[in-house]
Symmetry: C2
Subunit: 258 residues, 2 copies
């Protein structure tokens, strides 16, 4: 596993250099996908192509699920699967040139093995898994305190908050406050570091894969907001939290249905 | 003015060292003020006391308005006034030990002269004013592009968004997205850098003083959300934005009233 970890770290480092060069060139091509806020740039595509090339060289048998270039669906999760988000937070990338992440996850026979979330402009890498623990750069992370909902900050999707989906407003009301960063990777970093005690959003597989592996490795909880396993196919309502906040929030979800 | 700028930078540097030492000691005293989310720590008070001491030594005639220790009201804005927020984003400071700022503003005869916002843990200082321009650390900042509402990100107060105060939800809907950081200083940094094109919140004078001086210096707009001047007394609804987004948002505020 150590060889693969070192490989992936190198891919991420090279990908981030590629991104920084493109920012410096300042001639990005921005297109929309499923709406005016759903952006993709030539850089997202280039980074995904670069990562896929590395993955194919490293393990030609591995399957790949990725946000861009028509790689966004996978039937068969047997063997090794890499899940890629080349640039998570593309809107931030385009408008801020910061507050975006590269994310890679490794699954083996359907089990999450390794997750990597890299905050490119802050040079902050969270990585790890159940077998090796979780690290922030090279420093080992301990499980954050099991904060109750009332004692922590909740990362939340703006649409779910506005529409009060699944009692989202009550979750926010009972917490110490809501935070919205526009980047699933940053929200999951905040949960994993213990800055936040929960995260609720509408996510695609490449948004939650890497983070949920580390969330689980640290003994925290994640699932579809209905409590079921994530489908790894299309967007779904996602929740991740400390064990105590997770139970409290699932109670609020259940109340919202009645 | 250069002597005062250098002095203030030194105070901020010393204050940030004091804060980092207190974080390392890890025995902060946290109290609530006007509600369970309105926190104050011994560190907020110590930092304010330290800054006031420096200000009194530098200019014994200057008046001081500050968030803590009963310094939160000032009748007379003649002469020189220092406005202090020793730790802006105390909730983040307590829960995250990052994402908070030190803010200092200097007014002379009621006119904003200098603003300083320091993101302590990122070592990022935004400072400047109308006469000298605005700087990020030692690099000169140019006026951000005059983005329309639809082309940028809006920093927003969660309560105003949830309650749709002044058509806040429509502002968000028309923008590229909302962001919530829990720290006025960070939101104003994002506006000043051009990461965001607007910021709407409920703020006290020490929250908006430093930022609004730099916003104005860069040719952007700010006011009470009704378009009137800020009162520098108690909390009020605050808006700051690029000129174009400001006009669009004020139209939405006017529509909300009809």
């Amino acid at each position: 596993m150590q060889i693969m970890i070192n490989e992936i770290k190198n891919w991420i480092k090279e990908a981030s250099e590629l991104i920084k060069k493109e920012i410096a060139k300042n001639d990005m091509t921005v297109d929309t996908k499923e709406g005016r806020r759903d952006l993709v740039t030539n850089v997202d595509k280039q980074v995904q192509d670069f990562l896929i090339e590395q993955m194919n060289t490293f393990d030609p048998e591995a399957k790949i699920l990725g946000e861009e270039n028509g790689r966004d669906h996978l039937e068969d999760f047997s063997g090794r699967v890499f899940v890629i988000d080349p640039i998570d937070g593309t809107l931030n990338f385009v408008l801020e040139q910061e507050n975006f992440c590269i994310m890679i996850a490794v699954y083996e026979e359907g089990q999450g093995k390794l997750g990597f979330i890299y905050n490119v402009m802050e040079d902050l890498l969270l990585w790890g898994g159940k077998e090796i623990g979780v690290f922030i750069n090279e420093e080992s992370l301990t499980t954050p305190p099991d904060l109750a909902l009332k004692d922590g900050l909740v990362g939340m999707n703006s649409g779910m908050y506005r529409k009060n989906s699944y009692n989202a407003q009550l979750m926010a009301e009972r917490s110490m406050g809501v935070r919205m960063s526009g980047c699933a990777g940053l929200e999951l970093i905040d949960l994993i570091k213990g800055n936040h005690n929960a995260y609720v959003s509408t996510l695609a597989p490449w948004d939650y894969a890497a983070g949920s592996i580390m969330v689980e490795a640290l003994g925290m909880k994640f699932s579809n907001i209905n409590g079921s396993s994530l489908k790894f196919d299309g967007r779904e309502h996602f929740i991740a939290a400390t064990p105590t906040a997770y139970e409290e929030m699932m109670d609020l979800v259940a109340q919202a249905k009645n």
